[in-house]
Structures are given as structure tokens and as C-alpha cells.
């Protein structure tokens, strides 16, 4: 409870600071285009990393071992990949058109209101779904780590995030994300080191697993290689299509900031991912030795933290909340921009003022928290609209669409629609899909084919 009270106080201070500085739409939605590589890189990593890294990742290691690592193995590449594939063209378009949102940027590249309406709808739907999942996760993890009622944890985390995001927009959000990113990275390294020390060091942990659970080791653990490769590709290329990743490029003050950005992104991400590898490996070894008992794999991180002591439980709780709040702040801001700016302008109307964006931010937060806390079934359904959905809908237009001058608006709109629909259809049938057929990748592949075919046909 003390941690939650401190959190709310800090958020109130930040909200007051941000409200005084967010003077216009550029401040509110794009942090005034004033960010440097360090601030944007650390904040970008914080927004990118959700609570899954701290809880789901180690849990997945306990379930499938080294196979889970294929989700994060692309981390050394993704910082540079994002800048090469999408960062450079996005920053150049922002410098030319002063775009404040991704739908606005796409409309600027391709032209036509349909593109902006569809992109805004995809962003708004995906953001609300992701927010509901974050609220649900805050409830579950608040109970596990902070030992408070789930609804209390979810409401407090979302209230704090909404306070500074609604009042200060991304001027406040960028600073908050950067602080949260630094906290997450530092705590992740500390917790991973402590967990490995409790297991007798990395060599002892691996030796334990080699004797007790050798099927979890090797290159792929208990995962079929095609599935591992599909994960690698989905979480490698997918970084070029996540709106909350792309949004950070809008914050940069100049193209020159890109030069250092991959180093900051990669460093912050690698530090944070230490918790996945360290707690996953050490916790699974401790389970094999009987020091921890697990009811389900997701309990690995909480049980390992409990074994380390109350200080570890507290640090993990703060890190998990920081991860969720930073991700939620980006989604709230983008959803508000989609309805108060993108949809309005696409329909030929004047964008609503910042005050309306503040109200929209609060409404999105209330709706997502209500869904996340009250309806488990709705959360399961909304969980389908996540990483894979954005990859399927946006990857073809953000990569091929920005690089190929002959890509047309009609081709891009069709690609987004086909990719999104294909992803949702395949997600619904996921249990029947062969290993390696990831809905997000398949949707992106179909979208790419449609983009090329439609653009060529029209010409």
C-alpha cells in the first residue's frame, strides 16, 4: 500500500509539471519533437517492455526452457533494425510534414482520408485492447507482488498513469517513461543477479538442469524449431510495426539523434531482459532442486522473489508496475490522438483541442480498467489484438510502403485491412495451426502480397 501511495504522489507531481509544459498538440502528442537519443531510447524501451518480461518470460522458461529465448534473441538486432527500416524514413517524414501521429504520417506518405481513418481505427482498437490486458495484468501481479487486492493495484496504476498522461501528454509521459525504464533496467539486473546467486551461480544452475531437466536445455529447449524460428522473426520484424515503438521516432528533435539511438535501445533492453534469462534459469533450477514449488509456470518469478526475500518482492513489484505504466501511457496517448485528431482530420473536420484529448485519455483509461478488472473472458478475447495484430496490419506499410516509392494508397489500405483480418481469423483458429504458422507473420505476408499486387495493378 505504501508503494502505491508513493506512486500516486509521484504521478501527481509529474502531472502538475507536465500540465504546465504541454502547451500545444505537438507538445501533447509528440513531446514537442524535443527528445534526444538517451531520453527517447530509455523511454522507448520502457514503453516496449511490459509486465510479461518480468513474469511471463521467466515462466515461459520454466515451461519450455531455452526455446523461450528465441522470443528475445533478436534483441541485439532490433534497435538497429528499427532505425534502418522505419526510423530513418519516419524521422525524415516528420521533419518534412511535422506529423504528430503514425496515422497522420501514413496519410502524409500515401494521401487520402481512408488511409488515415483505417490506421487510426487499427491504432485505437489495438491500444484499447492492449490497455485492458495491461490493467488485468496489473491486477494479477499486484496481488502476487504487492499483496494488495487486484482491483486496487489495477486502479491505482491506471489512475497514476492517467493523471500524468492526461494532463501532461507525452511531454510528461516521455520523462516518466525514461525514469521507469531506468528503474526497470536497474532492478532487472539486480534481481537476475540475486536469483542466479541464490541458485549457486549460472554454471550451477545449468548443471542442475542438465541433470534434472535436460530437455529444457539445448538450442531450442522443449520448443519445435519452426516455432522458435517463427518467434524470432515475429519479435524481430514486429518491432517495426508496433505503434508504441514507432511513436518514439516522432519525439526525436533531429535525424542526427538516430545515430546513438540503437545503442541506447539495445543497452536498456538487454539490461531489462536479464530478468528473463537470469530469473528463468535460476528459478527453474531452484524448482528442480525442490527449493520452490510451482502450481503454474507463471508463478516462477513471484516464488523466486519470495525466496530471495521481501526486498526482492518489493523491487519486482515496482519494476512490474513501472513496465505496465510506461506501456499504458503510450497506448492512452495514441488512442486519444486517434479519436480527437486523426479521425477528425480524416473526416475533414478541425482537430479537437488538447482539453478534449485529456477527456478522451481519461475515458479510455476508465473503459480499459473496467474491462480488465471485471471481465476475464473479454480480456482473453482482447489479448488476441496485440503484437501479432499490429505486425500483420502495419508491417507491410511501414517497411515496404515507406521504402517503395510506387506503393499506392489503395494498395496500402488493402494491405492493412487484409493483414488485420487474416491475423484475427488465424488467431481464432490458433489451436489448429501447425508449429511455425504465427498469425501475425502470416497476416503481414498476405498484406505484403496485396500491397505489391494492388499497387502494380493500379499503375
Amino acid at each position: 500500500m505504501t508503494a502505491l501511495a508513493v506512486l500516486l504522489l509521484l504521478a501527481a507531481g509529474l502531472a502538475w509539471w507536465g500540465a504546465r509544459r504541454a502547451r500545444d498538440s505537438a507538445d501533447y502528442f509528440a513531446a514537442g519533437h524535443r527528445g534526444g537519443a538517451w531520453l527517447v531510447g530509455v523511454a522507448g524501451t520502457a514503453a516496449a517492455v511490459s509486465g510479461f518480461t518480468f513474469v511471463g518470460g521467466p515462466g515461459l522458461f520454466a515451461a519450455v526452457g531455452a526455446g523461450s529465448l528465441w522470443i528475445i534473441l533478436s534483441a541485439p538486432l532490433t534497435g538497429a533494425l528499427q532505425c534502418w527500416a522505419v526510423g530513418e524514413p519516419v524521422v525524415e517524414l516528420v521533419e518534412k510534414r511535422r506529423a504528430l501521429t503514425i496515422p497522420e504520417l501514413l496519410a502524409g506518405r500515401f494521401g487520402g482520408p481512408t488511409m488515415r481513418v483505417l490506421a487510426a481505427a487499427i491504432v485505437a482498437v489495438g491500444c484499447v485492447a492492449s490497455l485492458a490486458v495491461q490493467a488485468r495484468a496489473a491486477a494479477v501481479l499486484g496481488e502476487e507482488f504487492l499483496h494488495v487486492p487486484g482491483a486496487t493495484a489495477a486502479i491505482a496504476a491506471m489512475l497514476a498513469t492517467t493523471a500524468y498522461t492526461a494532463l501532461g501528454g507525452m511531454r510528461a509521459g516521455l520523462v516518466a517513461d525514461a525514469v521507469q525504464g531506468a528503474v526497470m533496467a536497474g532492478f532487472a539486473v539486480l534481481l537476475a543477479a540475486a536469483a542466479l546467486a541464490a541458485a549457486g551461480g549460472p554454471a550451477a544452475a545449468v548443471a542442475t538442469l542438465e541433470r534434472a531437466r535436460p530437455e529444457l536445455l539445448g538450442s531450442f529447449g522443449a520448443v519445435a524449431p519452426p516455432q522458435a524460428w517463427a518467434w524470432y522473426l515475429l519479435f524481430c520484424l514486429g518491432t517495426c510495426a508496433q505503434p508504441h515503438y514507432l511513436q518514439k521516432f516522432l519525439f526525436l528533435r533531429s535525424r542526427a539523434q538516430l545515430r546513438l539511438l540503437p545503442a541506447v535501445l539495445t543497452g536498456a533492453l538487454a539490461a531489462t531482459l536479464a530478468v528473463w534469462i537470469g530469473v528463468g534459469l535460476a528459478g527453474t533450477a531452484l524448482v528442480a532442486r525442490g527449493a520452490i514449488t510451482l502450481g503454474r509456470p507463471d508463478a516462477l518469478a513471484p516464488r523466486t522473489m519470495s525466496l530471495l526475500g521481501p526486498w526482492a518482492v518489493m523491487l519486482a513489484g515496482v519494476a512490474v508496475l513501472a513496465a505496465m505504466m510506461s506501456t499504458a501511457a503510450s497506448f492512452l496517448n495514441m488512442a486519444a490522438a486517434a479519436v480527437t485528431r486523426d479521425l477528425r482530420e480524416a473526416l475533414g473536420k478541425v482537430p479537437l483541442p488538447i482539453s478534449a484529448a485529456r477527456v478522451a485519455t481519461v475515458l479510455f483509461a476508465v473503459a480499459a480498467t473496467a474491462i480488465g478488472v471485471t471481465s476475464e473472458r473479454a480480456v482473453v478475447l482482447l489479448g488476441l489484438v496485440g503484437w501479432g495484430f499490429f505486425t500483420a496490419a502495419l508491417l507491410p506499410v511501414m517497411t515496404l510502403g515507406l521504402a517503395w516509392p510506387r506503393a499506392t494508397a489503395r494498395g496500402a489500405v488493402s494491405a492493412m485491412a487484409v493483414g488485420a483480418i487474416a491475423d484475427l481469423a488465424l488467431e481464432a483458429a490458433r489451436q489448429h495451426l501447425p508449429p511455425g504458422l504465427e498469425p501475425g507473420l502470416a497476416g503481414a505476408a498476405l498484406g505484403t502480397l496485396v500491397l505489391v499486387a494492388m499497387s502494380r495493378r493500379i499503375r
Partner: protein
């Protein structure tokens, strides 16, 4: 392609189409998967070549391709060995490139006259 010439306009959609078809076929023909993973990852990085071609960038992209092919092939060869398989994946695909790839981006980044 000559390193300092812009990428031919038909190459970008042609490569994207080929990769999309291969990606759809890979779950049915798993032998395709390692090739698609390496080719698609490198092709995404190579989009920068279409905008600002240079010999250093071309060499870096080719080097990334070589590293990914080696890393994935090694993981496949060592898949049945608990210790060396895990060590290969962590060392070659994760730890070794962590400081190198951001530096390669730094090195090939071109400042632009404002």
C-alpha cells in the same frame, strides 16, 4: 547492385514478394524456415540501402546475413546437446552481437546536410 547506386526500383517489391511467399510456405516446408528467418531479417535492415546506398552499409548488411546464417545453422547442429546448444545460442546469437550491431549502425550512419 553497385554499392553506391540506388537500389533498382523493382528489387524492393520483388524481394518482398519472394519473402512473403516463402514465409507462408515455411510452416509447411520447415527446411525453408532458417533461410527465411535470416533473409527476412537482413532484408528489413537492407531497406536502408534503398534510401542511402553505400559500400560500408552493404558490407554491414552482408556481415549481418553471414552472422545470422552461422548462428541459426549452429543452433540446428547443436540442438541435441544441452550445454553446448544453450551456450551457442546465448553466446553467438545474443551476447556477442549486443555491442557490435549498435556500433555498426553508428559507423554506417550518414549525417545529412540540414
Amino acid at each position: 547492385m553497385e554499392a553506391d547506386q540506388p537500389m533498382r526500383p523493382f528489387l524492393v517489391p520483388a524481394i518482398a514478394t519472394g519473402l512473403a511467399l516463402a514465409l507462408l510456405a515455411a510452416p509447411i516446408l520447415p527446411a525453408l524456415f532458417p533461410v527465411v528467418v535470416a533473409a527476412a531479417s537482413v532484408a528489413a535492415c537492407a531497406l536502408a540501402l534503398a534510401r542511402r546506398p553505400s559500400r560500408p552499409l552493404l558490407l554491414v548488411i552482408l556481415g549481418l546475413g553471414l552472422w545470422l546464417v552461422t548462428g541459426i545453422a549452429g543452433a540446428w547442429v547443436l540442438r541435441g546437446r544441452p550445454l553446448s546448444g544453450l551456450a551457442w545460442v546465448l553466446a553467438v546469437l545474443y551476447l556477442l552481437p549486443l555491442p557490435v550491431i549498435p556500433w555498426l549502425y553508428w559507423w554506417t550512419f550518414e549525417e545529412r546536410d540540414e
